[in-house]
Symmetry: C2
Subunit: 458 residues, 2 copies
Amino acid sequence: MQSQKMILMLDSVRRLMRGGATARAINVLRKGRPADVAQVLHALNDLDRHAVFAALARTDTELASASISELSLEAAVELLKTLPPEQIALVLQELASDDAALFIDEFPDELKESVLDLMKVEASTDVQELLRFAEGTAGRIMTPDVFALSEDLTVGEAIASVQSASRDVELVYYLYIVDDRNHLVGVLSLRNLLLVPPTTPIKKIMGTDVISVRTDKDQEDVARIVAQYNLLGVPVVDEENKLVGIVTVDDVLDVIREEATEDIYALSGVRSDENALSTPFRSVRLRMPWLLVNLATAILAASVVHAFENTIEKVVVLAALQSVIAGMGGNAATQTLAVIVRGLALGEVTWENGRRVFFKEITVGLFNGLTNGIVAAIVVMIWFGFSPKMIIIGGIVAVSMVINLVIAGAAGTVVPLVLKRLKADPALASTVFVTTCTDVGGFLSFLGLATLLIKYLK
Amino acid sequence: MQSQKMILMLDSVRRLMRGGATARAINVLRKGRPADVAQVLHALNDLDRHAVFAALARTDTELASASISELSLEAAVELLKTLPPEQIALVLQELASDDAALFIDEFPDELKESVLDLMKVEASTDVQELLRFAEGTAGRIMTPDVFALSEDLTVGEAIASVQSASRDVELVYYLYIVDDRNHLVGVLSLRNLLLVPPTTPIKKIMGTDVISVRTDKDQEDVARIVAQYNLLGVPVVDEENKLVGIVTVDDVLDVIREEATEDIYALSGVRSDENALSTPFRSVRLRMPWLLVNLATAILAASVVHAFENTIEKVVVLAALQSVIAGMGGNAATQTLAVIVRGLALGEVTWENGRRVFFKEITVGLFNGLTNGIVAAIVVMIWFGFSPKMIIIGGIVAVSMVINLVIAGAAGTVVPLVLKRLKADPALASTVFVTTCTDVGGFLSFLGLATLLIKYLK
C-alpha cells in the first residue's frame, strides 16, 4: 500500500519536473509522509533530486528536514551540500539534534563551522554537545532532549508535567526519574501513572533497576541491550550517572540495519556508501580498489603456481586439479568468516573465548577436509582410472584438502579476531587476507606434495 | 554492566551445578532478568543446560518462559523438547502467543498436538489462530491480544479503559481505535489522551491516516515499514480492515537481526541454525552439504581445464594465470551479489527495476574488467618480458578478464532476482550458482582464447 502510493508520487513528480513545473511537483510531495518523500528523492536522477530538494527546502523546510533524515547518511549529506549554508542551517535546526550532528560531522571543516554559526544558538549548542562524543557511541546517537521527572513529584504533578512537556522532547513510553542533581534513579511507564491515585509519590511506584548506558558505550552494544531487553529506549548517562539523553528504538533499528549491511558488504568487498541504485560509475569507482587488491593477491597466488611449472609440465592434470584445492579452501574460509564475523557482531565471540572457537574451527576444517578430500580423491580416481599414478594424485588431493581446510578454519578465525582486537572492523579486509591464505596454501600444499612425489607421477 | 552481571551469574551457576546444587543454581538465576538467564543457558554445556532448564520450568515457570523467548528459535525448541509435554504446555501458555506459535510450529506433529491439547483452551486457541498464517508473515509474528478502543468513547472513558486493561495485552505508546464492527479507523498516543479535557470524544482527536499491514504481509516488509516510519508498533488487519493484532518493534528488531544473519550466512554457505558456539560436530554436519555441492562445481570447473590440457602442456604459464581470471570473476560476483541481495532485503531492488540494475552491473563489470584486465596484462608482460608471445598472452588475460567480469555482473544480478521471483531466498544458493558461472566462464574464456591463438603462443 505504502509503496504503491510512493510509486504514484514518483511518477507525477518525474512528469512534472520534465515539464518544468517544480512548484507543482513540490505540492505533490507535500501530500506525502517524510519516508515517502525520501524514497522519491532517492529514486530521482541527480538533476531532478537537487532541484526538487532545493525547492522543498525553500517552501517546506520542516518536510525537507524530516525527509532527509530518512535517507542514508551519504545521500542526505550529498543533498545538503547542494544548498547554500544559510539554507542548510535552516533545514538542520528543524532536525533532532542527533541527526543534525550526524550530518554536520560529514561536512568539510569550513562548511561545518559556517553552518553551526548560522543555526539558532540553542540548536547549535545541542549539536556541538553531541559532536564531543566519538562516532559510533551512545553519546553520538542519543537525543539530548530527554524528558525527566524529579523524584519528589506526586503522580498528579507528574501527569501535569507530561501534559506541559514540549512536543520536541523525545517522549516514549518510559518516563525517567532523576534526583535533584540529575542522577538517574528510576523509571516509570506512562501507564503506571494512570493506575494509581494522583497523590501517590512517584518514588513509591517507580522501578529502580533501570537499564542505562554510558555515553561512551559502543552503538552496537547499545543496540544489543535494547534488543535483548525488548526496550523502547534506553537512557544515556555520563560517568557520574547523570541523565544526559536517550537512545530510542528507532535509532537502534537504524544501527542494526547499518551494521548488518556493513558486515555483508565488508565480507564481500563492497563499500558501505554504495547501494544497488548507485550510478554505474560510482559503483565502478567504489569497487575498483578492492578488485585491484584482490588482483595483487591473485597474482601472488599465480606466482606460487608459476614456481611449480616444471611439475605441471610433467603432470599436466595437476593444472586442472589445483583449483579444486584452492577453491574449496576459499569456500570453507567463507563459512568460517561468516560465523565468526556474525558471532563478533552479536557478542557471542569474544577475545576471551576466541581460543575455544579457534580450536573448534580447526576441528571442523580437519573433518570437513577429510570428507571432502576423500570424496575428491575417489572422484579423481574414477575419472582418470585407478592407475598407481592416479592413486597417488588422489592421495595428494586428499591430504592437501585437509591441510587447506585447516588453514581456512585457522585464518578465518584468527584474522577477524585480531582485527577486532586492534579495534578495526573485523569484517573489513578479512576476506582478502583469508582467501590469500587459502589460495597460496592450496597451491603450495597440492603442488608442493606433487613435486615431492614427482618420481612416482611420471 | 549487564554482561558483567551475566558472567558472575554464569560462574556461580556452573560452580553450583558441578557440586550438584541445582536448587541453589536456580535461586541464583531467579535474581536475574530473563535476557540474562537466556545468556547463561546459552553458555552452559548441554547436560547442565537441560538440568537447569528442567528445574527452572518446575520452580519458576514464568521465568523459564520469559527466558526461552530470549533464546534463538532453534535453541529454545531444542530445550523445550527435553521437557515432558505437560511441562511444555505450562511453559508455553505463559508466553505471548506469537512466541508460543513460533516454537510449537517447530515441533513434530504428534508433540504439537499433545501440547496444544494440554494447554489452557484460551492460550491454545490463540496459538492455533496464529498457526493459520504462513510462516514469515505479519499474521504469524503479531500478538493477537491488541488493545483497542471504540471510536464512540470520550477521552475520559478511554483513560478508564487503559487503566482497567489487563497487564497481558500488548500496550505500546499507540492506542488503536476501531468502529463497532472492529474495523481499524484511527490511532492515538497515550499522551494525546492527557492533553485534552476528559469529555472530548476521541473521534475528534484521533489520527485517521493509520499505517497498518495485512496479515499476509511478508515479515521483512513489516520490518521495513516500522523502520521507515519510526513506529513502535504496527497494527495488523485482515482483508476487511478488521484489527486482528499488533506487531511491536521488539518483534521487528528480531526479524531484522535474523534476516541479516540469514543473508550473511546464506551468501557464505552457512545454515542459519549454526552459530559460533555450536559444537564442532554440529558445524561439521551443517557445513558439509554446502562444501560437497561446491566440490561438485569445482570438479566441473576442473573438467573445463582438463579439456584444455593440450594447450596448457604447450604453454604451461597458462596454468598459473588461469586462476587469476577465475578468481577475479569470483570476487566481482561476490560484490554484485552482496549489493543485490542486500538491495532486495531493503526493498531497493525489485523485479520491476531489475532490468536497470542488470544493465548497471554489466556496465560495472565491463569497466572494472577493462581496468583490471589492462593492469593484469601489464603485470604479466613485466613479469614474463615483452616477447610477442607474452604480449598476446597479456591480451588474452585482458579480454578474458572483461568477459568474466561481465559474466560476474550478469549472473550476480540474475540469479538472486530469479530466486526471489520464484519466492526462494535470493541469498541461498546464489553464491554457488554464480561462482560456478565465473569459474567455468573464466577458464573457458581464458583457455579457449589461448587455444584459438595457440599458433602464436608456441
